[in-house]
């Protein structure tokens, strides 16, 4: 039996290898971009049973996050409000109580409504941490991590969407550099807060009171440093003795 490989096959192996290499690079590039939470989660904006407008309630009206998500400071789990909470303002004869958009609320609460079921409103969960990761809301909120760090500027969202990736590396970014996210405790739910809103003298006095140092010394020590999140965060980390855990068992128990 003669040679069954014609002459052009001499270069075929090299061509195939080149193509395979190019294809492999493309696959890696596509996977790198599109298989990560940055792509798969960010931007998720499901339709809710009631088109609740956060930008109206938390933005224009200036309601505090904790009016509805009331257990966030005390509980690992931040609650979605019950229909009773909505009913406080949107009950019979109150704000927009007969708007057709509020029909699911009336079904849940209004015993005189014809479609009354008494069943809770089925809100769609947007931010979901996997079962094997234990996230404690109260620990974060009570140590100066604002809602905005994980949920974005909800006060500007007509419809809430997934703003941050919530990937493990994203968690670790902050656990490794906590100063990037700490702010005074009374500003936790102020999603528009910036370091410039803080009075330096008051701040140094507060920190000094916590650490037992002299406020003037602290201030002097910071001369030449830029007033901003990193500086404030670093002081608050010292003042509150914040040491975010980085071992596996911190979140995966």
């Amino acid at each position: 039996m003669g040679n069954i490989f014609p002459r052009w096959t001499n270069l075929l192996a090299i061509k195939v290898l080149l193509c395979a290499g190019a294809l492999g690079t493309c696959v890696v590039a596509v996977a790198w971009y599109s298989w990560t939470p940055k792509y798969t989660r960010v931007g998720y904006m499901p339709q809710q049973p009631i088109p609740f407008d956060h930008s109206l309630h938390a933005g224009q009206l200036g309601m505090d996050c904790r009016y509805c998500h009331s257990f966030v400071e005390n509980s690992p789990h931040s609650n979605v409000p019950t229909a009773q909470v909505c009913w406080n303002c949107h009950g019979p004869g109150k704000v927009k109580s007969d708007s057709p958009k509020l029909e699911p609320l009336r079904k849940a609460m209004d015993e005189n409504y014809e479609g009354y079921t008494g069943e809770p409103i089925e809100w769609v969960q947007i931010h979901k941490v996997p079962d094997y990761a234990y996230f404690n809301h109260s620990v974060h909120v009570n140590r100066g991590v604002s809602c905005v760090e994980c949920h974005g500027k909800v006060n500007e969202m007509p419809v809430v969407y997934h703003a941050k990736s919530l990937s493990m590396s994203w968690c670790l970014d902050c656990h490794r550099n906590p100063e990037s996210a700490l702010r005074p405790l009374d500003q936790i739910t102020n999603l528009d807060w910036t370091p410039d809103d803080l009075d330096p003298d008051e701040f140094y006095a507060y920190v000094a009171g916590k650490t037992g140092e002299n406020a003037e010394d602290l201030k002097k020590g910071d001369e030449g440093k830029e007033w901003g999140q990193e500086l404030i965060g670093a002081h608050l980390q010292m003042a509150w003795d914040v040491h975010p855990p980085q071992d596996c068992a911190a979140c995966h128990r």
Partner: protein
């Protein structure tokens, strides 16, 4: 002319010394005989016994796949290992198979660099055995991680979890050591195969074998330039693989030696593991090659000299291993470390696994001593039985090291007893099925002996071969 007359009467160096070297290929076999005999194994129908061996092996392989599916769908809890013995048969078998893989590289690389010509009849099969054994080994740690689909965490790949490997851990070194070893062994084995694949291609009469052998022969034409490049590549790869023979099992031993567990924490582990691996590997090569030799009539190529040499290596490495066993005991006594003394006291006298220790000691240290006698090295049954004792003993060595030590930790409150679950037993049987199935397929489809290399060590390949005229005359007479 004076020149020619001296050439005719020139004495071959080996004869000049007064000791005729035993020929590597018996009965003055010509090159064509070698080609026909080796290619014939691939080209002809397999003997009935091939099927008798292949079918059960393939069934056991199916069993392995079944146990793996069961394991993945249920969880690693189906294995018997748990605290305190977290490393059960899974790691015992991993080390066992990895150890077996060592003979291949030793034969192909170190014996090549040291110009041991007898390696040529053994290296191909030994390398194939190496690759298959490493594949069998890889299954265990892969599934031992618990979530097999997460096994890519072993590789340092940037990921959304910010998980990065702990480069201080010998378990990670293991990943690199074993994967490097497998990769280099595959390349080395394949490079060695190319001229023989070309021979099979040239002899092929059917289209599919012609295509496949031709494809993998990479256009080999046996040209002078091709041979020059080829031999340089082979030499370089041999030099690259040589350190791997020592490094891989050293790194495997670090899994134990760098821990602080008494019974593991000893500096003797790396050399002792390497010697043990070569020991076990040669035993497995003999276990496989003695039947192959008989079955396919390769007695002239794989001769008593080969078996004799390999038996001597087994004797040497077995004795080194025995020395290591005794030295471990001596140091535990002489070092006067209480925990160390206790660990070995438990291992050999009062622990729950003392039977395993004596089993290991007999198989690995006592049994090979029979190879001091030439008659034993020349009796194939004795060699085969001792080789199997060694296979058995080397498995027991790993068993003694792992569960024995873990079952008796520092605190008596943590003491426990480990015995494997049925799944583990079936899985181990399954890897043997995989091992034999792949080896039988190797025999079926690839040249089991490196033809081109054996031809290179024939006396008639020597450009100064003195007796070629005599040999040619003898052949003519035999033909007529």
């Amino acid at each position: 002319m004076a020149g020619t007359s001296t050439a005719d009467t020139k004495v071959h160096p080996s004869e000049a010394e007064g000791v005729a070297r035993e020929p590597l290929v018996l009965n003055d076999r010509p090159m064509s005989w070698i080609t026909d005999r080796i290619c014939g194994i691939v080209e002809n129908r397999q003997p009935f016994i091939w099927w008798v061996l292949f079918v059960p092996a393939a069934m056991l392989f199916g069993l392995l796949m079944g146990t793996l599916v069961y394991l993945v769908s249920t969880g690693v809890g189906v294995w018997g290992n748990n605290q305190p013995v977290a490393w059960g048969w899974a790691i015992v078998n991993f080390v066992f198979w990895i150890g077996i893989g060592h003979a291949g590289t030793l034969i192909s690389a170190i014996l090549f660099l040291t110009r041991q010509k007898w390696r040529t009849s053994v290296n191909r099969a030994a390398e194939a055995m190496t690759l298959i054994a490493v594949m069998c080994a890889g299954i265990y740690p892969g599934f031992h991680v618990g979530r097999f689909w997460m096994v890519w965490f072993l590789a340092p790949v940037p990921n959304a979890n910010a998980i990065w490997q702990n480069f201080k851990s010998p378990l990670l070194w293991d990943v690199f050591a074993v994967s490097t070893y497998f990769l280099i062994s595959v390349i080395f084995w394949y490079i060695g195969l190319i001229p023989d694949l070309a021979t099979l291609r040239d002899r092929a009469t059917k289209k599919i074998p012609k295509f496949l052998y031709g494809f993998f022969a990479l256009g080999w034409r046996s040209g002078n330039r091709q041979w020059r490049h080829y031999e340089m590549a082979y030499l370089l790869l041999a030099a690259l693989s040589t350190p791997l023979v020592l490094s891989v099992h050293s790194v495997v031993s670090f899994d134990f030696a760098t821990s602080v567990v008494p019974g593991w924490h000893t500096t003797i582990f790396p050399p002792y593991f390497v010697a043990g691996a070569i020991f076990g590997g040669f035993a497995m090569v003999l276990t496989l090659m003695l039947p192959v030799r008989k079955l396919y009539g390769l007695e002239d190529l794989f001769t008593h000299k080969h078996i004799d040499n390999m038996s001597k290596i087994i004797l040497l490495t077995g004795t080194i291993v025995g020395y290591a066993y005794i030295m471990e005991l001596f140091i535990s006594f002489y070092g006067a470390n209480k925990f160390e003394t206790d660990a070995f006291h438990l291992r050999i006298l009062s622990g729950p696994y003392t039977w395993a220790y004596y089993c290991m000691f007999f198989c690995n240290v006592i049994a090979p001593q029979i190879f001091w006698f030439q008659w034993a090295r020349h009796n194939l049954w004795v060699v085969f039985i001792v080789a199997n004792f060694v296979n058995f003993g080397m498995w027991f060595e790993r068993f003694v090291i792992i569960p024995t030590t873990l079952a008796r930790d520092f605190l008596p409150g943590q003491w426990g007893y480990y015995s494997p679950s049925l799944t583990e037993k079936l899985m181990f049987a399954g890897t043997f099925g995989m091992f034999f199935m792949l080896f039988l397929l190797f025999i079926r489809f690839l040249p089991v002996i490196a033809m081109s290399e054996v031809k290179g060590v024939l006396p008639q390949s020597d450009p100064h071969f003195p007796d070629w005229k005599k040999l040619r005359e003898k052949r003519r007479q035999a033909d007529s």
